[in-house]
Symmetry: C2
Subunit: 336 residues, 2 copies
């Protein structure tokens, strides 16, 4: 492997000079040596040893995307299509900025702390963080943290999220305007400071505006797997008065639609459904899914931008970036 020393030797200079050239501190190096060194660098395919840099500079150029494994569940991480698109966008933007991405699952605070120290991690992304014990650890760490889809506010962290409230509102309003009054709200378990809670607020706001009473029994909570969705569908269908469902994620919506089909109900003729996210899936199921659109790539970019600001300026201007959502009309809602 070519090192700075090798280059210095070949050029007949000291390694300081080589290092200076590499870092653009060329003010006091003869243009001859600069040219020569650059030539050698190019020819030899020199690439800096990041471990050495990390050791001496206290910056590793490594950013972690952390997956907090709450129970000992498998896969979770990257399983849903939104997540993976997001990670792809993050990697790309990070790379453009000279950073590297590590994926890491941690089981508890200790795990996380070890990981940070192991690699001298420069920054972290967290998705869907809630206010649990784990969060306390996080807030005491002095590494830049960008939270995605979380409603926790903390001076050391920045948030990238969506207009969740508005999304919930738009979806519900759209259903109401199409004549629906008994609208189910389907979601994963609602946790405080989470996005679902906000979407629920939007749902209630829309009901309120149209003077439709909010009913607890129209709340249905499940997990993100086909089994659980089947169950949800049955529960929803059991309420004959329900004519529409707002599901807080497209995969959930798709699962519910499949479940309804399974028990002989037609969407949208018997029940209308609106989703959230606008993943590719929406255009593949039938009926195609009316949903709330979010721009995942933009989300990834925004997250990295925040990170870079923290990393470079160290001056924090904003703490929040809320990306817009809008409704995409497809075929899963019927006017009644």
């Amino acid at each position: 492997m070519t090192t700075i020393k090798d280059i210095a030797k070949e050029a007949g200079v000291s390694y300081t000079t080589v290092s200076n050239v590499i870092h653009g501190r060329t003010s006091r190096v003869s243009s001859q040596t600069i040219a020569q060194i650059n030539e050698i660098i190019k020819r030899s395919g020199y690439a800096p040893n990041m471990s050495a840099r990390s050791l001496v500079s206290n910056s590793s150029k490594v950013i972690g995307i952390i997956n907090h494994l709450v129970p000992k569940a498998s896969g979770g991480f990257i399983a849903d299509p939104f997540h993976s698109a997001f990670i792809g966008a993050v990697e790309e933007t990070l790379r453009e900025n000279g950073y590297y991405l590590m994926l890491r699952t941690v089981e508890d605070s200790m795990d996380l702390l070890s990981f940070l120290r192991n690699w001298n991690i420069d920054g972290m992304f967290f998705t869907g963080l809630f206010e649990d014990e784990f969060f306390d650890t996080l807030s005491s760490v002095d590494v830049p943290i960008v939270l995605i889809d979380s409603y926790i506010n903390h001076p050391n962290m920045q948030n990238v999220g969506l207009e969740d409230y508005k999304g919930g509102y738009l979806a519900t309003k759209y259903l109401i305007e199409n004549g629906h009054r008994n609208i189910a709200f389907a979601s994963p378990p609602i946790r405080s400071h989470g996005v679902v809670e906000e979407r629920l607020r939007g749902y209630r706001q829309a009901l309120d505006e149209f003077h439709i009473p909010y009913q607890e029994q129209f709340l249905f909570q499940g997990e993100f797997d086909v089994q659980s969705d089947m169950l949800l569908s049955r529960q929803i269908a059991a309420h004959k008065e329900i004519t529409a469902v707002f599901a807080t994620a497209d995969i959930l919506a798709a699962g519910i639609i499949a479940g309804l089909h399974d028990i002989g109900l037609n969407v949208p003729n018997d029940i209308s459904v609106v989703g959230f996210d606008d993943v590719t899936l929406c255009q593949l199921i039938s009926p195609t899914l009316t949903t709330i659109h979010q721009d995942t790539v933009e989300k990834g970019k925004a997250a990295v931008e925040f990170m870079m600001n923290r990393l470079n300026n160290n001056r924090v201007e904003e703490h929040q970036k809320i990306l817009p959502v809008h409704l995409i009309e497809r075929k899963s809602v019927k006017r009644i």
Copy 2:
């Protein structure tokens, strides 16, 4: 940050001793000191500095999952559900073995080489590699490489794949046995040494066995996006004699089904469809998709297992691990 020195100082021993304890070379350390050192390690939350280790030991414990960005396309990487599930499985298994995962997109050979040197990467995973110029670079590198879903054989690399041939065979045979004779083969562009080529071989084998002539015009190639799928569907529908489609990926199958619906054709009544992969999607679309099942998590585990064997023993016994596939019968095929 706690270092080995700090621990040594606190325990009143030299750092060699601490290092020895950490590495289990306890044979010649008093059990007292061992206990004491372990206690301090636990209490202080000591985590080794991997950069320092990497520098001195020539092993970084970092494995890369490489995304070779052929043109300057975006996202590609992780976009399809199979990929993300695979990455999740790899991360988990890697972690259990004390390794770390970096995700990295590279645009060309230089990029890759730099990345390897930057981090002293211990090993790499590649998905769907073909025999292009890029491959030559790869083969000259002395880092363990595990290829996923690739039919390139190279002494320095190992392969984890599927019974692609059998999968293609099973899917086609199933269609034939259900009375179909004019069966389209839909896939992304067929490249030599790729999985699609093998699945096509299986397709042809099944046709052969039933004395059905193979027809070039029944081959349809597209990309993995909804637009392209719509086009494909139209092309397929234009051949009135075609009664069934074997698509080499579920997302493609789903896209085609959506496209067929769009032009007023019903699946499976007008056209039957069989997919490949058995991703969650299959159960969400309607009709639910009959497909060839593969075990993605097992694939991830197998890949890591290969990697670990290379990394530890350095003795290479097998070069190939082929995971089984089988057909899952759902509702997208009609007996005619």
